[in-house]
Every structure is written in structure tokens, then in C-alpha cells.
């Protein structure tokens, strides 16, 4: 176990090193740097900016150093546990991430739960009743969720809930609850807002899960062990859920690990339209503003989550599937 983990971690470290270079390069790809982006923005509001001042700041931020030096400064900090400093938000990157990670996790986990709650029954149903009207309808529904661009769905939900219920669902809390302590009222308020992003994110991913589950289950349904269970005298639905669904879910459950990185990156578009206080809009903002350390930190975090997710997937799969665990 220890050796296996050590091997995996070593591989992860190597991948991370490569990833960090690529990330940093991606962020630097667009012309200009944080200050030029910032100056343009200030000019837009009518402020004028002194050139000497900018040069001084550029030196302070190390933006006039060559790529390698900038990268080295950043990565040596990261390795030492210092994720750097957000130029724009003017606070440590770790603090920014810390502040928003919780709510991002909450939204995303809720979305995953809803996603599965929608996709699994639908997938099972469409496999068991293959080619039925219900199967077609479920598939169609799943794919419509996939096909509607997220921003449009979010916008429509916002507008419709204003028209129909006279409530605005942007953000995750009403003003009176934003800074309040948790209470029943705040929870209700939260639920009154969070359903929209959760729905948008969930419908986008349901199709894929339905598709995989349906295909897997169709394979499993024709396996002899299903007949064995029938011959035992088990009730049809019970045996389907206990045996083939259990087997067909395995490859899916193992993809939960893959969802980990989406905590930050999946809901960028949704997050902006619905004004979610999650990490996604911050990622976008930092990329646009070329806020190097923040963007780098977030991308690196996504990378770490991806790799951790893979590891988690493997472990989960092994835990679920005795053939892998004991084989």
C-alpha cells in the first residue's frame, strides 16, 4: 500500500511540475500583463495614470522579469507553501481560495447529488425498458440538458423566477442573510437560491451519466448471473437493483473522482450569470486580469484536484470492485 501510494504520489508530483509550467505559460500567453490590463480598466473610468508609477509597480511585482525568473519566484513559493499574492484582490491566494472553497464545494456537491439523483433512475429505467417511449423521453430530456448552453438556462431561470414568483435568485443569499449566522431562515434562503445553479450544472452533466449507465446496464442485464438471481425467485426490480445495477454503477461511481476538479472549473459560465460567490468567477476574473498568482494557484489547484480525483477514483473503484481490490 505504502509503496503503491508513494509511486502514485511521485508520478503526481512530476505531473504537477509539468502542469505548473504549462499553467504559468498559459496565463502569460495573452499579450500584456496584469498592470497593462489594470491600466486599461482605469482609463475606462476616466482616471489617468502616471507611467513612472507603473514602471515602479511592474518592478515590484516582478512583471518585468523574464518568464523563467517569474516562474521560479512563484513556484519556489508554492513549493514552500506560499501560493503567492493576488495582484488584484491584494490578498494571499491561499486566503482567497480558503474563503471560497467551502461554498464552491457545497454547490458542486449538491449539484453532483442532484445530477445523480436525476441521472441514475433515468439511466436504469431507460436500460431496463430499452426502446420504450419512456426510454426515448428520458434520453431526450437528458440531452436537452446537455444541449442548452448553461448561460442561457441560467438566464432563463433567473428571468422566469422573477416573472413567475417575483423573486430574484442571483447569488446564494438574500441581502439580509448574506452576513447572518446560519439559521433555519438562512438555510431556507440558501435553498431558495442554490437550486438554480445546482439545476443548471446538473442538467448539463446528466446526459453523459445516463448514457454511460444505460450502456453498462444493458450489457449487465444480459449476463447469466441475472438469470441466476431470477431462478432464485427474487423479485424483478429488486434483483435488477441488487445485481446488474450494482455492477453497472461501478465505472460511474469511480468517475466521482473526476468531478473533483469541476468544483472550480465547471460552473464558470453559470457562476457568472447567477452571480455565485464561488471560485469559478474568480478564476475567470483572474485569467482576464492576468492576475498571475491567483490564476496560477487556481489552475494548479484544479490540477491537484484532477490528480487527486484520479487517485480517488482508483481507490474507490478498488474499494467497490472486489475483482480489482483482491485480484
Amino acid at each position: 500500500m505504502a509503496r503503491y501510494l508513494a509511486r502514485r504520489l511521485l508520478l503526481m508530483a512530476a505531473t504537477m511540475a509539468a502542469l505548473s509550467i504549462v499553467c504559468f505559460a498559459i496565463i502569460q500567453l495573452p499579450p500584456g500583463d496584469f498592470l497593462s490590463a489594470r491600466l486599461a480598466e482605469m482609463a475606462g473610468t476616466g482616471d489617468t495614470v502616471d507611467v513612472a508609477n507603473v514602471a515602479w509597480l511592474r518592478a515590484q511585482y516582478g512583471l518585468d522579469e523574464p518568464f523563467i525568473v517569474q516562474y521560479w519566484l512563484w513556484i519556489s513559493g508554492v513549493v514552500g507553501g506560499d501560493l503567492g499574492f493576488s495582484f488584484e484582490l491584494r490578498m494571499p491566494v491561499a486566503e482567497v481560495i480558503g474563503e471560497r472553497l467551502g461554498i464552491s464545494l457545497t454547490v458542486e456537491i449538491l449539484a453532483i447529488i442532484v445530477l445523480w439523483a436525476i441521472a441514475v433512475p433515468v439511466g436504469v429505467y431507460s436500460a431496463v425498458r430499452q426502446y420504450s417511449i419512456g426510454d426515448m423521453a428520458a434520453t431526450l430530456f437528458g440531452f436537452i440538458g446537455l444541449a442548452i448552453p448553461n448561460f442561457l438556462l441560467a438566464l432563463l431561470l433567473m428571468y422566469l423566477s422573477y416573472i413567475a414568483f417575483g423573486v430574484t435568485i442571483g447569488g446564494l443569499f438574500s441581502p439580509e442573510y448574506v452576513d447572518a449566522r446560519w439559521s433555519a431562515g438562512r438555510l431556507l434562503d440558501f435553498l431558495g437560491h442554490v437550486w438554480a445553479p445546482v439545476l443548471v450544472i446538473a442538467t448539463g452533466g446528466a446526459a453523459q451519466i445516463i448514457r454511460i449507465l444505460r450502456a453498462n446496464l444493458l450489457d449487465e442485464l444480459s449476463r447469466p448471473y441475472v438469470d441466476t438471481a431470477r431462478a432464485k425467485g427474487m423479485a424483478e426490480w429488486r434483483l435488477i437493483l441488487r445485481y446488474p445495477v450494482r455492477v453497472a454503477m461501478n465505472p460511474l461511481v469511480s468517475t466521482v473522482g473526476w468531478l473533483l476538479p469541476t468544483i472550480i472549473s465547471s460552473s464558470i459560465v453559470t457562476g457568472i450569470v447567477l452571480n455565485l460567490p464561488t471560485l469559478s468567477p474568480i478564476l475567470l476574473r483572474s485569467l482576464l486580469a492576468q492576475d498571475m498568482h491567483l490564476a496560477g494557484g487556481l489552475i494548479l489547484l484544479i490540477g491537484v484536484l484532477t490528480l487527486l480525483g484520479t487517485l480517488l477514483s482508483d481507490i474507490l473503484l478498488a474499494w467497490l470492485d472486489p475483482r480489482i481490490r483482491l485480484g
Partner: protein, 378 residues
Amino acid sequence: MLTRSGDAAPRGPRRPTGTESPWALVWGRFRHHRLALVSGVILALLYLSAIFAEFLAPGDPQAYNARYTFAPPQSIHLLDRDEDGSLVFRPYVHGYAVTVDPEAMRRTFAIDPDKKHPLRLLGRSEPYLLMGFIPMQRKLLTIEGQGTPLLLLGADRLGRDVLSRLIIGTRVSLSVGLVGVVLSLAIGLVVGGLSGYHGGLLDLVVQRVIEFLRSVPTIPLWMGLAAALPRDWPPLTIYFAITVILSLVGWTELARVVRGRFLALKTEDYVTAARLDGASDLSLVFRHMMPAFSSHIIAAASLAIPAMILAETSLSFLGLGLQAPIISWGVLLQEAQNLRSVATAPWLLWPAAAMIVAVLAMNFLGDGLRDAADPYAT
């Protein structure tokens, strides 16, 4: 599997008999996938309209019209009353009665029942170039009557015809996916094929590279690359660059499919048999392996196209994809993605409907192709 000599109940479609070619068998299975069949027809129509976009679009997609900003869609009336009162088939649309509301800064439109503008099939139009090089003077549908535009799907904020823009946008949107997938396929086929066929160290390296690429977050990657495109490139070049960027991410999936297929086929008895016939590597790959998975690859590719179309839209939303004056569904949606449009001019969202239809159709087509891909599977 097949070594079983018991007579287990037959399942699935009956094993075909006779001399049908493999593609005929694929077609035979595909035909039974109703949704896929319908989707195929829809897609064919969409691609046809992309090809003949200028002919189908009633108006000039870039022509603005001050009097008709945010004009609602006209409806076509098929039957008209003749002078003697009898009904005749003579499609027409009503004109608009326009009033300006200076306070709200908008125009309000009402149907003007007195103004009837007959529609004409293949009527004369301004001269234009079909596909950019065939000079034409007729369009599918034209309107009679001076000064009244034909706005079957309404007009946008500049009074431009949404239908025309939608039809012209089909060209870019559908081809982004197609071109992107072709590029992905080219990369994926070479890399995945080499990796799967040769195996060994090469396979290991390729596997790692693919794994690595997949751990690079897509949106930042797209954003970085899209933002890094030189600004002085002409729009067409930008368009190709965007598709290249999309396929840079997309090829890994296809490479995995290809590699998997190669690995599976390598151990197939009939491939071994061909090798024992003395066939060369090239012959093995091209005569025996490629034909076996080409249908799978087509299916995988057709499932990758909608992802690319959606990606283009997302990039447009973030302001990093294609930009006006290029017309794509993504660009049209980007222009329509605000409350004003949703609330007061919902017809601007037609591109979304078109996109949903296209994405759905491609997915179902892909599913159908995938199911039909292997006519010999048991």
C-alpha cells in the same frame, strides 16, 4: 462466448445472412435506430442549409434597418382571399405599423392588416454570390412590396433579419465542429494508432502525455490560447485558429478511442490470421484493422462534434471565441444573452433552439452510429 455450444436463447438482432457488404449491414442496423435516422435527416438538412445559406436566407444578414429594430417575427399566411372572396393559396405576410416610444426608447410594432405583402418562391433579389463564387439573383423566398422587410424570425437590435443571420451562422457553427473534429481525428488517429499498434515505450509516453493534457483545465487553456491569438489576424484566420484550439483539447479523447480499438483488434484472431498469412504491418493496419474500426471512429467523431459546437458558444460567451462581424450561433447567442432580449425580444434566442436541435441530432446520430458500428458484435 462463441465457444459455447449450448443453445442459449438468441438475443438482439438476427445474424444477417447473404452477401450484404459490411457497410450495408451497418446501415441495416442503423435504420432501426429511429431517433438516429431522424437526426441524420435533420443534420443533412442543416448542413445543406449551411451550404446554400445565401440562397435560403431571405435577406442580407448584415443589413441593418433603422425602422425595424427589435421587430417581432411576421407570421406567414398561406391562404388569401381573392377579389371574389374565394380562398386561394397565395402566401403573404402583413406589414408592420411602427410607432416610436421616445420615452422608453423603443419602437413598438403592430400588425398592419391592410398591408399584405405576397411572398414569392425563387423571386428576384439583389445579386449575391452563392458560396462566395456563384453569382445568383434569386432567393428561395422573397417578399413583394417596396421597403417592407421579410422578418420571419424577427429582427435584432439593429433591425437585422434574425432568420438570415441564423442561416448564415449555421455555416460557421456547424463547420467549426466538423473542421475541429477532422483535425482532432487526424491527430488522434496518428497518435492513438501508433501508440496502440506499437505499444511498448511509445505507448507509455503517449499515454502519459494524454493523461497530462487531460489534467490541464480546459477553460483556462482555451482562454489562454484564444486570448493569445494575434489581434491583427483576419477573422477567417481567427476562426481557424479557434477550431485548432478546440481540437487541441479534443484529440486526446479520440486518440484514446483509437488506441483502445487498436489494442483490442491486435489480438483478434482474424488479424492474427492475416499476420500468419504473411501480411505486412501496413497491410494489417489498412486492410484489416482500419475497416474494422472506421465505423467506431465515425461514431466517436460524431459524438465529439456537439461538444465542439458547445465549446465555441462558451468561448463566445466569455468574449474569447468568434466575434462579430463573423456570424455564428455562438456570436448570435452572445448578442442575445441579456435580460433585454430574453424579456422583450425572445425571438433572438432562436439560435439557441437551432443549436439544441443540432446538438441533440448529433448526439443521437452518434449513438445510432455507435450502436450500428459493429454489425458483427454479438
